[in-house]
C-alpha cells in the first residue's frame, strides 16, 4: 500500500474529529447530568422519560389534592366533634329539664343555655376552611346557616323557628319571626386523588345538622316558655342527632383513612417513577467519567502521534 502525507493528515484529522466529538458528547452528558439531551439520543427512552415527567406532574397534583382532602376532612371532623359536644350538653339539659319539678325560672335558665348551644352550633357549622365554607355543598361562598326574618304566615312546619324576638311591621301589620335557614345546596366536593379515584371531601350542613338544629330550636323555644310537654320527644330527637353525628364522624374517618392510604401509595409510585426516570435518563457519572478519561487519553495520544509523524521526513536525512 502506498502511503502519502495526505492520507496521514486525513486520517489524523478524521480521528481527531471523532475523538473531539466523543469528548464533546461525554462532556455534555456529565455536565448536564442526563444522557438524553435530545430525542435521537434514544428515542424510545426519551418518550418514556417524557411519560414519566408527565405522570410525575400528575401524581404531585394528586398528592396535593389528597393533602387538601385530608385537611378538609380533618376540619370537618373537628367540627363534628364540637357538634357532638354541644349535642351531648344539650342532651344533658333536656334530661335535666325532663327530670321534672323544676321551677319556671330554672327552665328558662336551661332554655338560655340551649340558646347559647344553638349559637355555638351555628358557629361550628359555619366553619370556613381557606375561605370556603365546609358545610354549604358547592355554594362554598355562602355561610351554610343564617338567621333570616320571615313573615309568620309563610312559616311552615319544616322551618326552624327561633321564637322570642318577633317584630311587627308598623305599616303592614305583618309579624316577622327569626328562622334558621340552610343557605347551601347538596353539591358534592370531590378531590381527585388518582386517575379515576375521587374522594368526597364534604358533607352538607343540611344532612349533618338539619335535624339537630330543628330539635334544639324546639327545645330552646319550649324551655324559654317553660313548656315541658314534649321533652321526651326532644330527648329522643337529640339522641338521633347525636347518632347521626357519630355516624358521619366515622364516615369521615373512613374517608380520611382512604385518603391517607391513597397518599401513601401515590408517594410510593412517585418514588418508583423517579427512580425509573433516573435509571433511564441520568448519566452514570462514574462510567461517564471513566469514558471521558479514556477519550481524553486517546485524543492526547493521537495528537502526540501526529506531532511525531509530521516531523519525520526524508528531508531530515538527506544532505
Amino acid at each position: 500500500m502506498r502511503v502519502t502525507q495526505g492520507m496521514v493528515v486525513n486520517r489524523f484529522l478524521r480521528d481527531l474529529q471523532n475523538s473531539e466529538r466523543r469528548l464533546f458528547n461525554l462532556q455534555g452528558k456529565v455536565s448536564s447530568g442526563t444522557r438524553l439531551q435530545r430525542p435521537s439520543d434514544d428515542p424510545i427512552d426519551a418518550a418514556r422519560v417524557m411519560r414519566f415527567d408527565s405522570e410525575d406532574t400528575e401524581i404531585s397534583r394528586y398528592l396535593a389534592n389528597a393533602r387538601e382532602a385530608r385537611d378538609w376532612l380533618g376540619a370537618t371532623e373537628s367540627a363534628l366533634n364540637e357538634a357532638y359536644e354541644a349535642l351531648t350538653r344539650a342532651q344533658e339539659v333536656a334530661l335535666r329539664a325532663n327530670a321534672g319539678s323544676l321551677p319556671n325560672d330554672a327552665l328558662e335558665a336551661l332554655g338560655t343555655e340551649v340558646d347559647v348551644l344553638v349559637q355555638h352550633l351555628l358557629q361550628v357549622v359555619n366553619t370556613a376552611y381557606k375561605g370556603r365554607y365546609l358545610f354549604s355543598g358547592t355554594l362554598t361562598l355562602n355561610a351554610p346557616y343564617e338567621v333570616v326574618w320571615k313573615d309568620v304566615n309563610d312559616v311552615n312546619a319544616s322551618d326552624i323557628v327561633l321564637t322570642g324576638e318577633e317584630i311587627e311591621d308598623d305599616q303592614t301589620g305583618t309579624v316577622n319571626v327569626r328562622v334558621l335557614e340552610y343557605q347551601g345546596n347538596d353539591g358534592e366536593i370531590r378531590h381527585q386523588i388518582g386517575m379515576s379515584v375521587n374522594v368526597r371531601a364534604n358533607i352538607t350542613g343540611d344532612a349533618a345538622f338539619g335535624d339537630a338544629f330543628a330539635v334544639l330550636a324546639k327545645l330552646r323555644n319550649d324551655l324559654l316558655e317553660a313548656n315541658v310537654d314534649n321533652l321526651d320527644e326532644y330527648v329522643a330527637g337529640i339522641d338521633e342527632a347525636i347518632g347521626n353525628v357519630v355516624r358521619l364522624r366515622s364516615d369521615i374517618g373512613g374517608r380520611m383513612n382512604r385518603t391517607e392510604l391513597a397518599a401513601e401509595r401515590l408517594g410510593v409510585i412517585s418514588l418508583q417513577i423517579e427512580s425509573l426516570r433516573s435509571e433511564l435518563a441520568d448519566t452514570d457519572v462514574a462510567r461517564a467519567l471513566v469514558d471521558l478519561h479514556a477519550a481524553e487519553l486517546s485524543l492526547q495520544t493521537s495528537m502526540a502521534m501526529a506531532a511525531r509523524m509530521f516531523q519525520t521526513s526524508l528531508l531530515d536525512f538527506l544532505r
Binding site: R11, R38, P43, M50, T57, E58, T138, S313, L314
Partner: protein, 479 residues
C-alpha cells in the same frame, strides 16, 4: 555502423529525460496540497535500437539508441473517481437530512421542562388545581396563563418548522444555481480538454480540475458520468444529460404555493434526482411521513382536536357569572397562527356544571355555584381521553410518539451519515493511495533523476573526451 556522435546523442536524450523527470517531480511537489490534483509520472521507454551488423558485418548485437519520454501520465482512475462521486452524493443526502433533523430536535427541546410536553403538563396541572378550587380566581388566572403559554408553544414550534422549510427551499435554490454554474464550467473544461488532447497528449491538469468540479457537483446532486472517445465527460442526472457532448442543459426551480419543484428548463420536466443534498431537501419539503409538512400537519391536528374537545365541554359549563355557551379556544382552520384562548377574564372560565336561576324572566338572572368544578373536572379528564389515531392515543401519547418518531428519524440520519462518512473516508483513502503525492517518494525520485542527470552529463563528458582524443591526438605522427 554507428555514427561518431552517437554517444553524445544518447547522453543528450538522457539529460532531457532527467530534466523532464525533475520537472514532473517539481510539479508534484508544488501541487502536493492542491485539491483534486493527481500525482503525475513520466512514462519513458528505450529508443528504437540500431542493428549494428547492418551490412552483414560481424559486430555483435543491437545498440540501444537511448531513452525517449513517451508521455506524462496521471495516476487518476476513472473507476475510483466514480466511486468517490457517488459516495459524496450519498453522504450529502444524509448530511442534509441529519442537519435538518438536528434543527428540528433543537426546536422540540425534549425531553425536558421547556418543550411543548412541559407546557401541556402545566396546563393540565392548572386545570387540576381549578377542579380542586373552582372559586379561586388565582386558579382561574393560572389556567388562562398556562393555556396561553401552551398555545404560544404550539405556535412557536409551528412557526419555526415553517421557517425551517423556508430555509430548505432557499437551500434548494442556491444548490440549483450552483449546479448550473458547475455544469457550465465542466462543459467549458470539456472543450479545452478535447482541444488540448487532439494533439495526442493527455491534458492531465485540466482533467484533474474537471474531476474536482464533478466531485463538487455530486454533493448537490447524484450524477452518472461517461467519457466519450474524444474525452468529453457526459454528466447526467436521472438519465438526462446535464452536460452533454454539445453543451449544457439548465435546471430551474419552480415554487408554487410553497411546493418546490426542480425541472429541466428546456423540457419543463421534473428532474428525477437519485441522491445528493437537493434530493434530501426536496424529500423533506414534500409530503408523507417524516417530512416537515407532516410534522406541521400533526401539530395542527393535535391543536385542533384539543381545541374542539375542550370547547365542546366548556360550552356546556357555566361561568362564574352564571353564563353558558362560551368557547374556551378560538380555532382558525387555516393556520395554527390564528389559534388563541378566547377568554380573557378568569370569571369567564365555565368550570361549573350547574348554576342557580334567580329569576327565569326576560332577561333571566343567574347566580353561580362557586364550589362546582364538574366541567373543569371533565376538561381535565381529557388528558386521559383517547382521541387520536382512531381513538388509540391520548393527546400526550400522540405527542410523545410524534417526538419519538422525530428522534428515530434523527437517529437514523445520524447513523447513516456516520456510516457514509466512514465509506467516504475509505474511498477517499483508496484514491489518495493512488493519486496522492508522497513527498518522501518525490524526494527519492528527485534524487534518482538528479543522479541520472549527473551520470548522463558524465557520459557526455566522456564522449567529448573520446572525440577530443580522436581530433587532437590522432594523425599527428611525426609532428
Amino acid at each position: 555502423m554507428r555514427s561518431t556522435f552517437f554517444g553524445i546523442e544518447v547522453a543528450k536524450l538522457a539529460l532531457w529525460a532527467g530534466q523532464r523527470g525533475m520537472d514532473v517531480t517539481a510539479h508534484n511537489v508544488a501541487n502536493a496540497d492542491t485539491p483534486g490534483y493527481a500525482r503525475q509520472s513520466v512514462r519513458q521507454s528505450a529508443g528504437a535500437p540500431i542493428n549494428a551488423p547492418l551490412f552483414g558485418g560481424s559486430a555483435a548485437g543491437q545498440i540501444g539508441s537511448g531513452v525517449i519520454v513517451r508521455s506524462i501520465e496521471s495516476s487518476r482512475d476513472a473507476f475510483v473517481d466514480r466511486q468517490v462521486w457517488s459516495s459524496h452524493s450519498e453522504m450529502a443526502y444524509w448530511t442534509l437530512r441529519r442537519q435538518t433533523m438536528d434543527r428540528v430536535e433543537v426546536l422540540l427541546n425534549e425531553p425536558g421542562d421547556h418543550g411543548l410536553g412541559g407546557a401541556m403538563d402545566r396546563w393540565w396541572d392548572a386545570l387540576a388545581v381549578l377542579v380542586a378550587n373552582p372559586e379561586s380566581m388565582e386558579a382561574r388566572m393560572q389556567v388562562l396563563a398556562r393555556a396561553n403559554t401552551m398555545v404560544e408553544t404550539f405556535q412557536d414550534l409551528d412557526r419555526h418548522l415553517a421557517a425551517l422549510a423556508d430555509d430548505l427551499r432557499a437551500d434548494v435554490q442556491h444548490r440549483v444555481t450552483a449546479v448550473n454554474m458547475l455544469a457550465e464550467r465542466i462543459a467549458a473544461l470539456n472543450d479545452r480538454i478535447v482541444r488540448a488532447e487532439s494533439g495526442g497528449q493527455r491534458a492531465n491538469d485540466l482533467r484533474d480540475q474537471r474531476a474536482l468540479l464533478v466531485e463538487q457537483l455530486s454533493s448537490h446532486v447524484s450524477v452518472t458520468t461517461t467519457e466519450t472517445a474524444r474525452g468529453v465527460l457526459r454528466v447526467s442526472i436521472g438519465g438526462t444529460d446535464l452536460v452533454g457532448e454539445h453543451g449544457v442543459r439548465q435546471l430551474g426551480v419552480g415554487v408554487d404555493a410553497g411546493e418546490v419543484t426542480v425541472e429541466w428548463v428546456d423540457s419543463q420536466r421534473a428532474v428525477a434526482f437519485t441522491g445528493g443534498a437537493v434530493r434530501a431537501a426536496l424529500e423533506l419539503l414534500g409530503d408523507g411521513p417524516g417530512t416537515i409538512g407532516q410534522m406541521r400537519t400533526d401539530l395542527f391536528a393535535m391543536a385542533q382536536t384539543l381545541s374542539d374537545e375542550v370547547n365542546a365541554l366548556h360550552q356546556n359549563g357555566y361561568t362564574y357569572k352564571g353564563e353558558t355557551d362560551k368557547q374556551f379556544f378560538a380555532f382558525n382552520d387555516a393556520s395554527l397562527a390564528g389559534w388563541r384562548v378566547d377568554i380573557t377574564e378568569p370569571e369567564d372560565i365555565a368550570a361549573a356544571g350547574s348554576r342557580i336561576v334567580v329569576d327565569p324572566g326576560d332577561p333571566p338572572t343567574y347566580l353561580p355555584v362557586p364550589g362546582d368544578g364538574e366541567v373543569a373536572r371533565a376538561i381535565s379528564q381529557l388528558k386521559h381521553k383517547r382521541m387520536f389515531a382512531d381513538e388509540n392515543f391520548t393527546l400526550d401519547d400522540f405527542y410523545r410518539s410524534w417526538v419519538a418518531g422525530i428522534g428515530i428519524a434523527a437517529q437514523e440520519a445520524q447513523r447513516m451519515e456516520d456510516n457514509q462518512a466512514l465509506l467516504v473516508a475509505q474511498i477517499t483513502n483508496h484514491r489518495e493511495q493512488l493519486t496522492g503525492v508522497s513527498l518522501d517518494e518525490e524526494l527519492a525520485n528527485l534524487l534518482q533523476y538528479e543522479r541520472a542527470y549527473q551520470a548522463a552529463a558524465r557520459i557526455m563528458t566522456a564522449a567529448d573526451e573520446m572525440l577530443a582524443t580522436l581530433i587532437h591526438n590522432t594523425g599527428v605522427v611525426g609532428r
